[in-house]
């Protein structure tokens, strides 16, 4: 059974169709990439799935439950965690505090929550920064914190929204290996990313959308050579060599 099933999802903003009858199927254990040119509707699709807003129509099924329009905090408890494109740390608090907020979603005890947060930080080689104020972190560390927070909620599906934007090439590589590790631990990953090199290296399966519609899907190699994809990215007069 698919972990996440999106059927005929449409989202309109005042007559404008940002997402148009989109179908997606994510199998457990997959790293699933969603790409498309600027303004294609990726973030809108992402936000509908993550519960930031309800789709206008269509059906989203997660782990056997229909989750259309479900509140974000309930989605989190059912095992769906997300990161934000613009990272949102609790800036006046330290790293451990930030992650503990997240691990409270599975316990009421501060001691347990902190222990769990520490375990997540250690798994990401991040424990040495536990007392640093989140507002003082570098961007790479903020992205890492964002992932640590999402992981501390013990997700089955991790939604990643451009977590590599603004990272240096070596930091991107580090991020890629973190995600590969997570997959090994059995976490399914749904990723939107602009850095093609990374998404091509990571994904098992990629869906490309333009004007809110799916225009192609397949393995990274198939996508990179798909005529419709190349035209979507490079202009529709582009001569495909």
């Amino acid at each position: 059974m698919a972990l996440l099933q999106v059927e005929k999802m449409t989202k309109e903003f005042g007559g404008l169709r940002a997402v148009d009858s989109l179908d997606l199927t994510i199998e457990p254990g997959q790293i699933f990439g969603l790409i498309g040119p600027n303004g294609a509707g990726k973030s809108t699709a992402f936000n509908c799935i993550a519960g930031a807003f309800a789709p206008t129509s269509g059906k989203i099924t997660f782990d056997g439950e229909v989750i259309n329009g479900e509140k974000p905090w309930n989605l989190c408890k059912s095992g769906l965690a997300r990161t934000f494109q613009i990272v949102k740390p609790f800036a006046s608090k330290d790293v451990l505090y930030n992650v503990t907020v997240a691990s409270f979603s599975t316990t009421n005890s501060r001691k347990h929550a902190e222990e769990k947060a520490m375990a997540v930080l250690e798994s990401l080689n991040f424990a040495d920064k536990k007392n640093v104020l989140a507002g003082n972190l570098t961007i790479a560390d903020r992205k890492r914190l964002e992932i640590a927070k999402a992981l501390a909620t013990e997700p089955k599906l991790l939604l990643l929204d451009e977590v590599m934007a603004g990272l240096r090439p070596n930091e991107v590589d580090e991020m890629v290996s973190i995600f590969q590790d997570l997959r090994k631990q059995g976490i399914t990953i749904f990723i939107i990313e602009h850095i093609m090199r990374a998404i091509m290296a990571l994904s098992d399966h990629i869906v490309v959308i333009q004007f809110g519609k799916k225009i192609a899907e397949g393995s990274p190699a198939e996508i990179a050579n798909d005529e419709r994809v190349i035209k979507a990215y490079l202009g529709d007069d582009y001569v495909v060599a």
């Binding site: 905090w73 989190c76 740390p89 609790f90 006046s92």
Partner: protein, 334 residues
């Protein structure tokens, strides 16, 4: 001796000083000033649970003071019920009011919430001023209620001297500080801070921000009302214009903002700073320069917002850290 030891000793020293103070301060005027200082510190600490941790700006907390004061006073005057019981009843009523007012407003943007709380407090004041009898209960409208000092004693919450009031409010303050300390280290505290700083991110991490704020509002209004009963028993006269006043609501917020929102010591610092200004201005310049203390409040508020927007608690605790760490430079991080 490490800094943790110094902290403990300093804390004990301050506590001992606070308890010993009435032995030294024999003047009823100064004791009165101290009682009011602690009273405001208590109110601000209660305010801080919602106004500080949750990051919203309530500007009508005097309404809860009024609910507490009126409830216990009416119950004790008409039915002879001990103010201690009335205190709890008032707290519960205020909590219900806090939930009713918070339910629709806590989701709003900050300015709307601030306005809604002001309107609630002002509306309540106007109603109290208009009501002589609420069913069988005598509210006495604009004339207010006088508490005749008939029987003194603990169960009557009435004393001939100021010292007992001093100790009661001191203990109330210490308890409420302990409570906010515990809240700040609990799941609720974490959720309030997270929801106050980045509501969207907090929700994605499983935090029902509106519910956490509502709980904070309920706790805060309950605690605030308890101080209302104290005030009624201390001053023996309550009156809608003085106890449900905008000035009181704003003073609470000012103390918190100047001292430091969302910190445990912030309200104490704010009260230590502002209350004496207010009292001494009134004593010495009340006739010649009326309103001087409010001008000072306004100026201090603007300066703090300009240069220390997170309150004076921050630079002061930095200074304290530097002093206690001076003998031996910071050794280890653990």
């Amino acid at each position: 001796m490490n800094s943790q030891h110094i902290n403990k000793i300093a804390l004990l020293g301050v506590l001992a000083l606070a308890f010993a103070l009435p032995l030294v301060v024999r003047s009823a005027t100064y004791l009165h000033i101290l009682v009011l200082l602690f009273f405001y510190a208590y109110l601000t600490t209660s305010w801080n649970i919602v106004g500080g941790f949750a990051g919203v700006l309530p500007l009508g907390h005097a309404a809860f003071v009024g609910i507490g004061a009126y409830t216990s006073t009416v119950l004790s005057l008409q039915y002879g019920i001990s103010p201690w019981i009335g205190m709890v009843v008032g707290g519960v009523l205020a909590m219900i009011a806090g939930i009713i007012i918070g339910l629709p407003t806590l989701k709003m943007r900050g300015a709307y919430f601030a306005l809604a709380t002001i309107a609630f407090a002002e509306g309540l004041r106007v109603m109290v001023e208009n009501i002589d009898y609420l069913g069988p209960l005598k509210i006495n409208g604009p004339r207010g209620l006088q508490i005749p000092p008939l029987e003194t004693g603990f169960s009557h919450f009435m004393f001939a001297t100021k010292e007992p009031y001093y100790y009661i409010i001191l203990i109330m303050l210490l308890l409420v500080m302990l409570l906010t300390y515990m809240v700040s280290r609990s799941k609720l505290g974490y959720y309030l801070v997270a929801g106050g700083e980045e509501p969207e991110a907090a929700m994605a991490l499983g935090v029902n921000v509106a519910r956490a704020r509502l709980i904070a509002m309920a706790v805060s209004s309950f605690l605030t009302a308890l101080a209302g009963t104290f005030y009624a028993q201390f001053s023996l006269y309550i009156h809608p214009k003085s106890i449900i006043s905008l000035d009181m609501s704003f003073e609470i917020a000012f103390i918190a903002l100047i001292g430091g929102r969302g910190s445990i010591v912030g309200p104490i610092l704010g009260a230590l700073l502002l209350r004496p200004v207010s009292d001494f201005c009134r004593i010495y310049f009340g006739d010649s320069l009326p309103g001087l203390h409010l001008i000072i409040f306004g100026l201090v508020l603007i300066l703090v917002m300009l240069y220390q927007p997170r309150g004076l608690q921050e630079p002061i605790s930095r200074l304290y850290q530097r002093i206690i760490n001076r003998p031996q430079p910071a050794t280890s991080g653990s």
